[in-house]
Subunit: 496 residues, 2 copies
Amino acid sequence: MMEETSTQNIDKRIQMAAEAFQFLKNTTVTERAEFMNAVADQIEALGEDLLAITHTETSLPLARLIGEKARTVGQWRSYAKAVAAGTYTAPRIDLAQPEKQKGDLRKYNVGIGPVVIFGASNFPFAFSTAGGDTASAIGAGCPVIIKAHPEHPKTSQMMADAITAIVNAFGWPEGIFSHITGTSYEIGTYLTQHPDIRAVAFTGSFQGGKALFDIANRRENPIPVFAEMGSINPVFAFQNLLETKAEILAKEYSTSLTLGAGQFCTNPGVLIALKGNPLDRFITALKDEIKGIAPSHMLHKGIFESFEKHKTIALAQPDIEVITEAETIANEGQGRAIVIKTTARDFMTNPALSEEVFGPFGIIVTCETHEEMANIAQQLKGQLTITIAATHEDLHENLSLVNLLKDKCGRLLFNGMPTGVEVVYAMQHGGPFPSTTDARFTSVGPDAVKRFVRPISFQNWPDAFLPEELKDENPLQISRIVDGEMNSGSLKLQTT
Amino acid sequence: MMEETSTQNIDKRIQMAAEAFQFLKNTTVTERAEFMNAVADQIEALGEDLLAITHTETSLPLARLIGEKARTVGQWRSYAKAVAAGTYTAPRIDLAQPEKQKGDLRKYNVGIGPVVIFGASNFPFAFSTAGGDTASAIGAGCPVIIKAHPEHPKTSQMMADAITAIVNAFGWPEGIFSHITGTSYEIGTYLTQHPDIRAVAFTGSFQGGKALFDIANRRENPIPVFAEMGSINPVFAFQNLLETKAEILAKEYSTSLTLGAGQFCTNPGVLIALKGNPLDRFITALKDEIKGIAPSHMLHKGIFESFEKHKTIALAQPDIEVITEAETIANEGQGRAIVIKTTARDFMTNPALSEEVFGPFGIIVTCETHEEMANIAQQLKGQLTITIAATHEDLHENLSLVNLLKDKCGRLLFNGMPTGVEVVYAMQHGGPFPSTTDARFTSVGPDAVKRFVRPISFQNWPDAFLPEELKDENPLQISRIVDGEMNSGSLKLQTT
């Protein structure tokens, strides 16, 4: 299906990346933003061909792919805008104070070096070869070695060609972008262990992400791994909300749970609520909603088989009850929506029920008391998102529970559903372990660039040899903290 | 010497810290800044008693301790100012766009949870119980469990009492600050493995820091470790500079190398230069300088013994030559300055010569060619600092070498010496591995607070339930990125 890049060739590409880094780290934010905007234009210009190929490779509907392509182009542009503003260089200048024998200190963030990125299968554009990780790394000034996802090789090659075309058009070193193909786990290990690699980004399974994290930390010089590894994205539904909106919530939940055959990392896999009449109404409404969901093709055989396997494991647990399943029988490769029910006690004592089932699969957890809800919250592992389905009155009554849930997620929703991850500054796509390996960073939104920089401080450095971002004149007109205060001006003008 | 806090008591204190975190994470930046300023006042008020005790415990001269105390008070105040400005909450608001079906998203940084801090011996005030790590963590909204350094127990207790007095005066939960004492390695392991601990900060040896890093990464839920572990802080001296200033450089180097008995993590342990007459002049001048340095008491027996041990190992290497040693014989416990010489080839092929000798110990590495200097740069491990002793002409002639050295350090000096770490925004005290475990953060300067926060995003959250930092009205009057642009105002005023 996909040719395996040889180790020899990987070594060569990483060597080229290391050399290209010496060039790229000295480009200005303005230059990198221009590059990123050119990549955005190039991807935007890819037409029907791309969509048709990706549709064939992923089974994703064309409408979804059109949306995802626009999102991907938007990512390059919005990250470019943030890079051009100098946001991630975070310049700080403390001017010399000769009378206090204090030297001149100037700090800014610079790229950390060549980054390996593993393409994800569930977003062939937005989280793959030309996805947000690649845009972030290049925005930070880091060459990228992309490990293509083997389930959409042609899509990956088209995206790689688009980026390479811009590298050539700019006359930048070829090593800025490399496209590695292959299916073996060994390639991932080899890339992560390579001494010239400085960071890794990954979106996929817990097993895959955690393995890379461990490999990276056992290196002679450990490197950061930004792995997004999955999440059950719990919904805590409270009493007043259920009483007034059980049916509306059922419709929202069902739609979110089955969107894109449930193949989103923010899929709301668990709903937790007090037992009683309002929850019964919710369940009754949910049965009707789920029944009518037509099964749809999952991304690839591996994902489908994994869905079936994990669903089977969940269904084999004692004390669970299937409450609803889509009526239409699924064909081979299709995900058929199903929702089961269990008690808080079983959920808390049986870890198998807290495992993510990637696909259209939900668990309703019924609690006897508020205390049981709080106990579930206390025991919950880190999540990408948690949703509070509640009225203002519910919030007032459950403040300490909500406060606790803040420690368990990267994004906390007040009603609505977690699927649909906006590419904006205020997005946090990254939660406490095990949803990601590093809750301090986001993989979506312009702040994703932050993952690939580190600060360097220049002491008493001659202006002519400083990076543009730190020169007196502030030629890039970026915001800097000068002697502790925000300053967007030139220091030359101010001192004359 | 120091009572061992029992495991039971540690568990109790960590439990208290976890509970206090629920309080502390909901304090505003203003409240935490007030607390920090009160701690600064409290420490400042500690008088002769403190200085006398610390002098006895550390052998550090009173003048140095007076300076370090002022620095420590200054750290609390300058970090408080940065916290009050909201710098580390980094608020981002993307307002709802109902016509595009986009919800309201608001993100800010919140404390990550209870932090364990290991006090360092070489800065009993600035990097110990009430040092920069403690100020950073509390500024971030994280309770602190300090593991006191066993070599200055009374100093540590006085500092702990000062902080506790402010916790009580503010009526804040006692668990915000805990003082753990003991000498066993097991205590460090136990603290780092505790499931309620969310981060670790450490300043000390490579062995100690790397052990904590490994323990933290092998936890079921890995946590960040910010360990500053040592550095040989190379000085690359170039030809034109040496020709014009060999004697001045020798004086600067000698002073920095022997300052505080060489017990600074930024001590310039290695100087690299081309062989020839200018370097010979430097060495001749250095001999005179070093000869006259009076040996002084090292911090404690362990540090003295370690100095003697590592010095002996270095002196036992083949192909080294002692070029100068302080004339005065050292008493037991005193560090006697010594400088040796080796060739670039020996330095590069014998890893023992790149090991830090913590104390007044220097190596002059003589290179045959510019290429050898470049090879040393290429091979160099990560450092806290690198110093370029050069003229502008030297810089012009060695741009690619200097560019490469940027990847190897956190702070790059143009002349001057690396000892003396200013507590300012533009300071970067943290370099690539193995000088620290995480080059993306600094342990000195207000940016040190960043180590202990993570972002959380609130989607469609009612204004009344948002943290103050994110409310429409912007009651704290902090700078926020609103719809992609900097904004310090109230959103209420702007929309009416």
